[in-house]
Symmetry: C2
Subunit: 231 residues, 2 copies
């Protein structure tokens, strides 16, 4: 039975912009697993209520319902052990999880402020009110104000990527010689940006920029072919 | 032949405060290797010139001279393979190196601003002029001004630890169920603080605080027994 994935979509059903869903889609492709993605909008909480929570990604694999991108990655690794590995060893999981925490807090925490109005512009009509209200409550100001200073704020965003830059200046992928889940974690953040925004989050002389190019081409250019903007 | 380590010291020869030397000493203890540490001051560049560079840690193991804490950790893992492992697998090395880059840039970059005057106060007389001049040049202001706002700045420092906090709220060590080099990396930063300062860098309700307590007790309380301050 084909694996199914509820995948956050914009007004256009093929515009899939969740960084967390991207991690899962790349992990599935890495494992060589076929997936049928189901476009999902923020307001469609009923569609995923069998997962016991309200966010995507939600993966359906036969009888199994798995949510949360990290939990899904561990599930795929443990369930499909004879396919290409995502972590490489039990010992590699813990430090990879650190990269996951870093990307969730530092990278996505800074990116959302740069992208907020672009996300809003791509949302389905039925998601807009929820999105504006919840995000304006979170940031304590109108959406438009959050992103207003992004031309200056992006400098700090780029600085915050320094730990990844040091690694990617020394080796082609965060995981070493070839991409593993550590790479999909961070790359998912950039696919979030690419899916909905032409704002230039990296400069072309950045080792992270070159790595992102390689990641766009990996897995038969799965990511490059997806609807999005090139900066 | 006993391994030797040049280890940064203050005015008192037993006050060893380099976060990078701490990583190495903890790695050696984890491997069960005996080491003779040699107190070293910033101005004693001649003593380590055989390493081809001017910073500690510098490890002497028979004919081998190895510098840079990350390079030393890899050297120890590859040379002493039959002793307890520091990474656990080849695949775990790359994501652990990310933690290393993060600690070097984010954690130590923020900590130095909190600790600068305390470091200065513990230096050997012969190191003081070099230290003041080089650090005042780096920060573009007198040492005393860099640390002056630390009571407010420490809030941002604690926030910057969020990626580690998420992991340590979920499991006892960054590496999982027991400490590995990932833990020694971050713990070295806190040993830097502890060695020379009573400034409270963590609050006691922080999962990182509890982890630090466990780390102080590990390896026969090697770290807790070292000259330092309890906050």
């Amino acid at each position: 039975m084909t694996i199914k994935l509820f995948d956050l979509a914009g007004a256009e059903p093929d515009r899939r912009f969740s960084p967390y869903c991207w991690r899962t889609k790349l992990a599935l492709a890495h494992k060589g697993l076929t997936v049928e993605t189901i476009p999902w909008r923020f307001s469609e909480t009923h569609a995923i209520e069998m997962s016991g929570q309200g966010r995507v990604p939600v993966l359906l694999d036969g009888d199994k319902v798995v949510s949360d991108s990290w939990t899904i990655a561990e599930y795929l690794e443990d369930t499909y052990q004879h396919r290409p590995f995502l972590f490489g060893s039990a010992e590699a999981r813990a430090p990879t999880r650190f990269i996951n925490s870093w990307a969730d807090t530092v990278v996505n925490g800074a990116l959302v402020r740069l992208l907020l109005t672009d996300i809003y512009a791509h949302l389905h009509e039925k998601d807009r009110r929820y999105f504006r209200e919840s995000r304006e409550k979170r940031f304590g100001m109108p959406l438009e104000e959050v992103s207003a200073d992004r031309d200056t704020r992006v400098v700090g965003f780029r600085q915050s990527l320094e730990p990844a830059r040091i690694i990617l200046a020394a080796q082609p992928y965060l995981a070493g010689g070839r991409p593993l889940y550590a790479d999909y974690i961070l790359f998912g953040c950039f696919m979030w940006a690419r899916s909905i925004s032409s704002f230039r989050v990296l400069t072309s002389d950045d080792p992270i920029y070159s790595w992102r190019e390689r990641m766009l081409d990996n897995l038969s250019a799965l990511a490059r072919k997806a609807p999005g903007y090139s900066e």
